[in-house]
């Protein structure tokens, strides 16, 4: 049996008013991939911050034993010098610097007074080769995609002689191909003896890559599952995470499908900065009342672009095509137009494009349709409070009250606020873009229930998602998009992961590079 590279014993970390970590024990053997799973707010990130010295020694109780000795890190540099490197969910790369410059940021080659650029780029190229990234180290970060940026982060970690690599949600913004590539890279590093801790919500990936899975719930370690000994199925892991068995991950619904609520014909849109590049290419689709229709596709298939160009031309230029709402042709020139025609677009980027984090739940709830709480442009604040409470109760948002700032809520609750904001606008058609991204299993289930409620009221829902199981579990019909076009339409019965991927592969003639 290999020795333990890392042992965290009875870690307790308290913030004013909350105990974020309550007696956490974690053992990581040398040369294994160890997954940490748990619902949002369970304490995974806090634990990793304790390990890497972001929370310095003395601010927590318990011992961190690394490589046989008790660690007393007071800053990140201390842990990095021992070969512990953490890659955060939000990548920390500077967009206008080159790959090479980023890799050696804070660790510049040469002398303080003179950077040796030849050495820098030579080393950078070597490490890029190790991670299998075929880019010149002189390329600027802003010119490469998120998947490649993630590889640059890993290459950067390698330059620091990493022994223990910690990845926080490394695949959250990657598509399936890139995710698989990344996971295989980790397996390759493992065979060379590197130790790895991976935090992830994507349980299929966890069971694929991990040797052991430690489950954290409410700040405490619940159990550690070992590959080959314990059951590694998703249902088993979820049971540990939520403390009960989720019989159905998708709530049942009886479909009562009505007339066509929204129809798009021959919809075309071009990229806003690169004129002539078609992001939507003659797309036609429709959604009926009482129906949830899914839009599947890889990252960059043009799904978000399609949704936003329909939603009052909020994306793209040179938009052409016909949009019919309830059978009548409409021209939506602005977001206000779209909202007035009872259309809603719930963004995939709730922090960046959806919510005002510095403002209260009350103000966020009413933002998209202040006509409902005002008369002659004067706000009726009492009415606003009433509505905000109403929607808080309908969606069962967990918060201290409607005056709480949205920025202090967990991801799942923020998503509920975003939904309540658009439900408050009283739309007939809702376009939900990645409605469950980055939120935990329990909250996902609640969001699905809300979607079912919406369609049972006769509303139409168009759901864009990168998670195929969720599309398969929730949708009456699924459109498959690739490279700006619709390349397939599948009924609930026809749809499966295989048929969806088949549509994509057939259309792009991708030489079958993607194994599903």
């Amino acid at each position: 049996m290999a020795k333990n590279l890392l042992e965290m014993r009875s870690i307790i970390k308290e913030f004013p008013g909350v105990r974020a970590l309550d007696n956490v024990n974690l053992k990581v053997e040398e040369g294994e991939i160890h997954a940490l799973v748990g619902e949002n707010g369970a304490g995974k990130s806090t634990l990793m911050n304790v390990l890497s010295g972001i929370y310095p020694y003395g601010t927590y109780q318990g011992d961190v034993i690394y490589d046989g000795e008790v660690c007393k890190f007071s800053k990140i540099n201390d842990s990095e010098s021992k070969g512990i490197v953490i890659i955060h969910q939000e990548l920390a790369l500077v967009p206008y610097l080159t790959i090479g410059e980023n890799m050696f940021l804070g660790n510049e080659q040469g002398k303080t007074s003179h950077i040796d650029w030849d050495k820098t780029y030579d080393l950078a190229a070597k490490y890029l080769k190790t991670v299998g990234l075929e880019e010149s180290p002189r390329t600027q970060i802003k010119d490469i995609g998120v998947g490649k940026q993630q590889l640059v982060e890993i290459a950067k970690a390698l330059t620091k002689n990493v022994r223990l690599l910690i990845l926080d949600e490394p695949t959250a913004s990657l598509n399936e191909t890139d995710s698989r590539k990344l996971l295989d890279l980790l397996l390759q590093f493992k065979s060379k003896g590197m130790t790895c801790i991976i935090i992830s919500h994507k349980l299929s990936e966890v069971s694929y890559v991990a040797d052991k899975i430690t489950i954290i719930r409410d700040g405490a370690t619940i159990e550690t599952l070992v590959k080959g000994v314990d059951d590694f199925h998703e249902e088993r892991i979820i049971k540990g995470m939520v403390g009960r068995e989720l019989v159905d991950r998708f709530p049942k619904r009886e479909s009562h499908i009505g007339d066509v609520a929204m129809e798009v014909r021959d919809w075309c849109a071009e990229h806003p900065t690169y004129a002539g590049r078609m992001v939507c290419n003659h797309v036609s689709l429709n959604v009926r009342r009482g129906e949830i229709v899914g839009v599947s596709g890889l990252m960059g298939a043009g799904r978000t672009e399609l949704a936003m160009s329909i939603f009052g031309r909020s994306y793209g230029t040179n938009i052409r095509g016909t949009l019919l709402l309830n059978g009548r042709e409409v021209h939506l020139r602005s977001v206000t137009d779209a909202i007035n025609h009872k259309l809603a677009y719930v963004t995939e980027d709730r922090k960046g494009n959806g919510l005002i984090l510095s403002e209260s739940i009350r103000q966020n709830t009413t933002l998209a349709r202040m006509e409902r709480i005002s008369r002659h442009q004067i706000l009726d604040k009492d009415l606003e409070i009433k509505y905000a409470n109403e929607y808080k109760d309908i969606l069962r948002t967990k918060c201290s009250g409607i005056e709480q700032n949205v920025g202090n809520l967990s991801g799942g609750n923020q998503q509920k606020i975003l939904l309540s904001k658009w439900m408050f606008a009283e739309p007939d058609v809702l376009i939900l873009d990645e409605p469950t991204r980055g939120i935990d299993v329990g909250a996902k289930y609640e969001i699905y229930c809300i979607m079912n409620d919406l369609v049972s009221q006769g509303k139409a829902v168009l759901m864009i998602s990168s998670e195929m199981p969720e599309l398969l579990g929730m949708c009456d019909r699924i459109y498959v998009m690739n490279e700006g076009s619709v390349v397939g339409e599948l009924t609930h019965e026809q749809a499966s992961q295989e048929t969806i991927m088949a549509c994509i592969l057939k259309s792009s003639g991708n030489k079958g590079a993607m194994a599903v």
Binding site: Y345, S358, E359, L367, I385, K386
Partner: protein
């Protein structure tokens, strides 16, 4: 039981302190100056800070800062944007006013309307570039700072225009009731005004509270409600007593009250006001919620120049002159007042009340140091340090308030 009660009381208290740090700081600074003036400078109480004459003086001295700070707040709310052209607009509009009123003997009301329109035109010009072409406000208003100052100097030909008609000066510099009233009448009138104001204010507060209770909405605790209202009423009455013992209610104070109330209402209770906060909080989200952020931005900057024109009229009347150097560094006073008053340098937070308190804070420091006889250059040093300290304090206390 008692322990939890104490805890929640402590939390209410610390919440109260956090919300009102600048008010408390203002009170402390005022008291500090009062003590310093009497002990260190050995001046009699009649020459200290809190005397009827000095309070009246403080108001007219700082009126322009309050007006400009209110306008600046709207700009800052849109996303931490500032307007550097304010002082130059004051000079240009002042020059226009001088030319029209003194040189051309135009009717003062017509002249004032023209001045305000000039302000609006200047504002629309700058706001167009900022809001619709999206040139950074810093650049546009820096250009404006040179442009309007230059035009003012061209109009004035480098000279100062003075000798405004009495009717014009009286509009801004007189008192209610008029100068001919006796001492007793003045005191009675101001006190009556103060009492009526208190009564109207209290009545409104009570009705609002009753309505909220009836609808079962969250209300402030009775202690907080009474404490806040009592403090405010005492302040109003004390102020009217002070002013009553001097020459009466300055007309400029009425103008200030109207501006503060209108803009306070605008930012807190209207839809376009809410748009300002939404835009400053997250412009992309605001846009995707159907808010025309360009229009919001356009309004904020047009309005800033409009209020600069108002300030120009006030300042020309106060100094009885239009000078090429008028309004120098006024923009800095306004920006400083907003930040001392708790506006966020990134936009999205801040209140009109806060900006007013910030302006008064700066005024008290200026005034207190002048009475103490501190050298003007040292006054600048102190003001700079106070501005920095206020913002540091604000940022640090907010950071403490919400751990991750």
């Amino acid at each position: 039981m008692t322990e939890t009660k104490n805890k929640s009381a402590a939390r209410t208290l610390s919440g109260f302190l956090k919300k009102n740090t600048m008010v408390i700081a203002l009170v402390l600074v005022t008291l500090l100056f009062e003590i310093l003036i009497m002990t260190v400078a050995h001046k009699p109480a009649s020459q200290a800070l809190l005397t009827p004459a000095n309070i009246s003086n403080l108001i007219s001295q700082n009126s322009y800062v309050v007006i400009l700070a209110v306008g600046m707040l709207l700009c800052i709310l849109t996303g931490g944007n500032i307007d550097l052209s304010v002082g130059s607009i004051v000079a240009l509009v002042g020059a226009v006013a001088g030319t029209l009123i003194v040189n051309m003997h135009m009717d003062i009301w017509l002249a004032m309307i023209i001045c305000l329109l000039v302000g609006l035109a200047i504002g629309a010009w700058q706001a167009y570039w900022i809001a619709y072409i999206r040139i950074p406000p810093f650049i546009v208003t820096l250009a404006g700072m040179l442009l309007w100052r230059g035009l003012a100097q061209i109009i004035l030909n480098g000279l100062t225009i003075s000798g405004y008609p009495e009717t014009y000066l009286n509009l801004f510099n007189s008192y209610v009731p008029g100068g001919s009233a006796g001492k007793g009448t003045i005191l009675t009138v101001t006190l009556v005004i103060g009492i009526v104001l208190c009564a109207v204010y209290l009545a409104a507060q009570f009705m609002n509270r009753a309505k909220r209770k009836r609808n079962n909405y969250e209300t402030q605790s009775a202690f907080m409600f009474w404490g806040k209202n009592a403090a405010l009423c005492v302040l109003i009455l004390a102020l009217s007593l002070m002013l009553g013992n001097h020459k009466g209610l300055p007309t400029i104070l009425i103008l200030l009250a109207v501006i503060v109330l209108v803009y306070g209402y605008y930012t807190q209770n209207t839809v376009p006001g809410r748009h300002l906060y939404a835009m400053g909080g997250n412009e992309k989200a605001a846009k995707l919620s159907g808010i025309n952020t360009n229009r919001t931005m356009f309004f904020a900057y047009t309005n800033m120049a409009f209020l600069s024109a108002v300030a120009a009229l006030v300042v020309t009347a106060r100094f009885n002159s239009a000078a090429p150097s008028a309004g120098n560094s006024y923009e800095m006073d306004a920006i400083g007042a907003c930040f001392i008053g708790g506006a966020s340098a990134y936009g999205g937070t801040g209140t009109v009340g806060g900006a007013v308190i910030g302006a008064v804070f700066m005024g008290v420091i200026n005034n207190g140091m002048s009475i103490l006889g501190i050298d003007a250059n040292w006054q600048k040093v102190v003001k700079g340090l106070v501005l920095l300290a206020a913002v540091i304090f604000d940022v640090v206390s907010k950071r403490r308030a919400q751990p991750e």
